[in-house]
Each structure stands twice: as C-alpha cells, then as structure tokens.
C-alpha cells in the first residue's frame, strides 16, 4: 500500500484491489461501505467536537475572554467532557409529544448532514461519491434536514418549538434558492457539476480570482445564504434564545440534543467546505501565475492541509458574523432573501453567462 499524503488515489485503489482479491465481491463491497461509514462517522464526531471547541475559543477571543481553560491543556478536552455529560443525561420527553416523530427528528437532521458530506472532495482520491451531478445532489440532500427540524418542532408539542420550526422552514426553503443559484453561477463558469472536475478546473487559479466580479458576488451571496441555511447567527431565528428559549430543540435533552447540536456544526462544515471547494479551489494550493518558486513552496503543503485551512478560514468568517451582528426578524429575513439576494443572484448569473461567453476571465 503506497501511502502518499499528496495523492490518496493509489491508497484507496490499493485497498479496493486488496479487498476484492481476498473476499467475494459482495463481501468486499460491504466491507468497503463499513470502512467508509466508520471513517466518516469518526471524522464527523471528532471534527464536530473540534468545531464546538473552536467556536467557544473564537467567541471568547471576540469577547475579550479566555474561553474554556479547565479541562485538559487550554481546555482542549472540554467538548469531550460536555459530550460525555450529554451522553449520560436523562432523555426527557414531553407527555403529549408525538413519540415516533419526536424520536425520528434528530436522526433525519443528522442523516441529511451525512448525506451531504459524502460528495466533498477532501484531497485527490479522498472522496466517497464522485457524481457528475455532485452540486445538484448536494443542494438536494442539504434541504432534507429542514424536514427533521419541522418534525422536531411539531412533535415536541411546545409552542416555542413550533414557532421555531415554522420560522426555520420558511427560512431554509427561501435560502435554498440563493445557495443553489449562487452555486449555479459557478457551475456556469466551471462548465461541470462534478466536484472533482470543479476542483481540477481551479489548478491555475481559484474561481474566486478567475471569475472576478460575478464570482465574488456569488461568494458573498453564498456565504450569507449558507449562514442562513445552517441556522446560525445572525439568522438563528429558529433557535432564537432571547425569544424562543431554544427554538425547535427546546424539548430535547441528552443525546438527542447532542445530535441537533452536532448536525448544526456539520452543516457549518459543509457550507464552509462547499465554499472552499467551489470558490477557493478546494484542495488546490495557492498559485500565482509565474512565480515558480512561490508556487513550489505552496505545492509542498499537502492538499488535505489546504482544504482544511480554507474550510477553517470560511468557518472563522461565519463565526465572525455570528458574534458581531444582531439577529434579524422573521419578515426581514425573508425580505433579505426575496428582495435582495434573489435579484442580485439572477443578475449575477446573467453577468456570469456574459463573462463566460465573452471569455472575459483569466
């Protein structure tokens, strides 16, 4: 097995060949599924925990605080301690809750996140689903999560939860449009919907540079709409603490609450990863035209590192939004989408089409 940090194609291929030789085809495929599933599960759990820790530290820095410092060095084990606490907590269910839907809702939310994470290319060869309609698939599955939120709000039999879920439904359905349209803008530019091909197209220059004005506008719109899709501040109406206590997950406790919590952070990761892949070149290193030596140094950093650096950068910006802005009201959030982002997006697609037709790009 040839392990190469710069290209995982051979590694995954070797594993596949090795399994196929030793087992029957059905068993080999099953084992592959299990391996991929476990790897994703582990990655999501660990990265989710890391993101919670990062959020707490970043928010502390914004607020001139220290953040968690007690558990482990610099509080690194804090989220693990929190997770253990959530695991051990009693699961309390409201008496008149719709039992089946109440238990189903967190799973729908988290499964939707898992579905979306499958198409993301982490590094060359490190991608489990490489569709030729990757972007389409992603926008499709990322809207499944709202069903879980609506179910959670409805089945909890709590008025706060219901208001939160209704808000969330209106919000996510609207912002789905902006996310898709801004991605469509980049699909027009890239000429493909396949994530690996989109990344490959950015070998010379990231799309945000080569696509200049329309790409930048699409990036900003995607960031705003993506923040709204993840239900994060300033668009956290669904769980607006000062109004709705905790919104749609008011009645959830213990591990079910942890699932909502984790799904929120996975969604944050997905939005950032898509932004990084489509606009910032995915795992492609930063290259500047003809500076050979500079490009060489950049090539030295492994693609996985590049990917995560970009993702964390976008996550930081989204956290910056959250810890700076007041929350919007529900009608304002729809005004922003339908009166501002949607027209801008439509004009932007036209602009992008013109740019592509006239080849006015780098």
């Amino acid at each position: 097995m040839a392990f190469n940090i710069y290209d995982f194609t051979t590694l995954t291929h070797d594993i596949h060949v090795g399994l196929a030789e030793s087992f029957s085809p059905v068993l080999a495929t099953t084992i592959e599924w299990v391996i991929v599933g476990v790897v994703y599960l582990l990655f999501v759990a660990l990265f989710g925990l890391f993101l919670v820790y990062a959020e707490r530290k970043v928010c502390a820095a914004f607020q001139q605080r220290l953040g968690p410092t007690r558990v482990g060095p610099w509080g690194l084990l804090q989220t693990i301690a929190d997770f253990i606490k959530l695991l051990m907590k009693e699961l309390i269910m409201p008496r008149k809750a719709d039992r089946f839907l109440y238990n189903l809702a967190p799973f729908i939310v988290i499964i939707a996140s898992f579905l979306a994470i499958a198409v993301l290319p982490f590094a060359p060869g490190l991608q489990s689903l490489d569709f030729d309609i990757g972007v389409f698939y992603l926008t499709a599955v990322s809207s499944v999560g709202v069903i879980g939120i609506l179910l959670a709000g409805w089945s909890s039999n709590n008025k706060y939860s219901l208001i939160g879920a209704m808000r969330s439904g209106a919000q996510i359905l609207s912002y789905e449009l902006s996310v898709s349209l801004s991605l469509l803008t980049m699909v027009v530019f890239a000429g493909t919907m396949q994530f690996s091909a989109i990344v490959e197209g950015q070998r010379d220059a990231w799309f945000i540079f080569s696509g200049h004005i329309p790409a930048v506008i699409a990036f900003v719109v995607f960031l705003i709409a993506g923040t709204a899709e993840t239900n994060r501040g300033p668009f956290d109406l669904a769980e607006a603490e000062s109004e709705l206590v905790a919104g749609f997950h008011t009645e959830y406790s213990g591990i079910k609450f942890a699932m909502f919590f984790l799904a929120e952070y996975i969604n944050l990761f997905i939005v950032s990863a898509v932004a990084a892949t489509v606009f910032l070149g995915g795992w492609m290193p930063l290259h500047f035209g003809n500076f050979e030596s500079f490009n060489h140094v950049m090539d030295f950093i492994p693609p996985v590192m590049w990917f995560f650096m970009k993702v964390l950068g976008v996550i930081f910006v989204i956290m910056w939004f959250k810890w700076t802005f007041p929350r919007l009201r529900v009608d304002q959030i729809l005004t922003l989408e339908w009166k501002y982002l949607l027209p801008i997006n439509l004009v932007n697609i036209l602009l992008m089409a013109l740019v592509v037709l006239t080849k006015f790009h780098f």
């Binding site: 970043v58 502390a60 820095a61 914004f62 607020q63 001139q64 605080r65 220290l66 410092t69 910056w320 939004f321 810890w323 700076t324 802005f325 501002y340 801008i344």
Partner: protein
C-alpha cells in the same frame, strides 16, 4: 430609476455599517492576549481586595488574645436583619463590683446583608469588615460564627 438607485445605495450602505461592526469585533479577536477576564482560583495569591471591601464581620484580636468588645449590644440594635446576637455574662471584679462582660458575640453570616451599620455604630471599634469573600460551606450551621475567640478577654483601656 430613482428608487432603483436608492435600492442599490441602501445595499452598499447596509453592508458598510455591517463592516464597521465587524471592524470593532475584529480588533479584539486579533489581539486575544488583551483579554479582560481573570483566572480566579489561580490568582488567589495575588488577589487583593480593596481595604473597604465588605466580606464579613470580624472581630480583630491582638497578640494577647484580647479584643475591644464591651458587649454593649449597640451592634445588635443596629443590625436590620438580626444577624448579631450578644450573649453577656456577669462577673465580679476583684474590687467587689459587678460587671457585665461579653460571653459570646454570635454572628449569623447567612443572614447578614453586609450593610456596615454595625461596624459604623460600634463605639469601641471592636468589629470591622473583613476582606474574605469565600464563604461557601457544606453545612449551613457553619455560617453561624462566634466572633470572640475562646479564652479572649477585653483589652485594657477600652472605655466602658
């Protein structure tokens, strides 16, 4: 057309105000060493409270285990919550005079609102406010304290 220009300018103005806000928070996030919080239990050794800080009522004793309390009960009268109880005893001095002295100066910290009225009213300055603020105990009974130490007596020269 005019409304269209207004629409465009409103977008840019709005984004500009948001950027100003992000500048303020950005200024702090990139200087995380300038935090304003203290790591409290770690800095216990260096933590100095202000001299007037009202943490609890204490009765200072000198090296000879002597205090200044005459047991007059003015603090008990001045206390709005009844957190002070004076139990006095009568002794007969060698000259044959009967004298009232303090037996126990009982102080209920759990009831005290630290208003300073007892300290202000004390004619001999026997009780003062202490700076200790870590009063958490497992047993509520421990919050009832006897301020005069066992075996202590009133120091010489305190005006009765």
């Amino acid at each position: 057309m005019k409304s269209f220009i207004e629409y465009i300018t409103s977008i840019f103005k709005g984004v500009w105000t948001l950027l100003i806000g992000m500048k303020v928070t950005g200024k702090y996030v990139f200087t995380p060493w300038k935090h304003v919080t203290h790591s409290y239990p770690e800095n216990r050794d260096t933590l100095v409270m202000f001299e007037r800080f009202r943490g609890e009522v204490i009765m200072p004793h000198d090296a000879n285990n002597e205090h200044k309390c005459t047991g007059c009960g003015i603090c008990e009268l001045n206390c709005p919550n009844g957190s002070i109880e004076i139990i006095s005893k009568s002794i007969v001095t060698p000259e044959g005079k009967k004298k009232r002295l303090i037996d126990q100066h009982i102080y209920h910290l759990g009831m005290c609102t630290l208003c300073n009225l007892c300290v202000k009213a004390c004619p001999t300055g026997a009780i003062v406010m202490g700076q200790n603020f870590e009063h958490a105990v497992w047993d509520r009974a421990k919050l009832t304290k006897v301020l005069n130490q066992p075996g202590s007596k009133i120091s010489e020269g305190v005006k009765e």
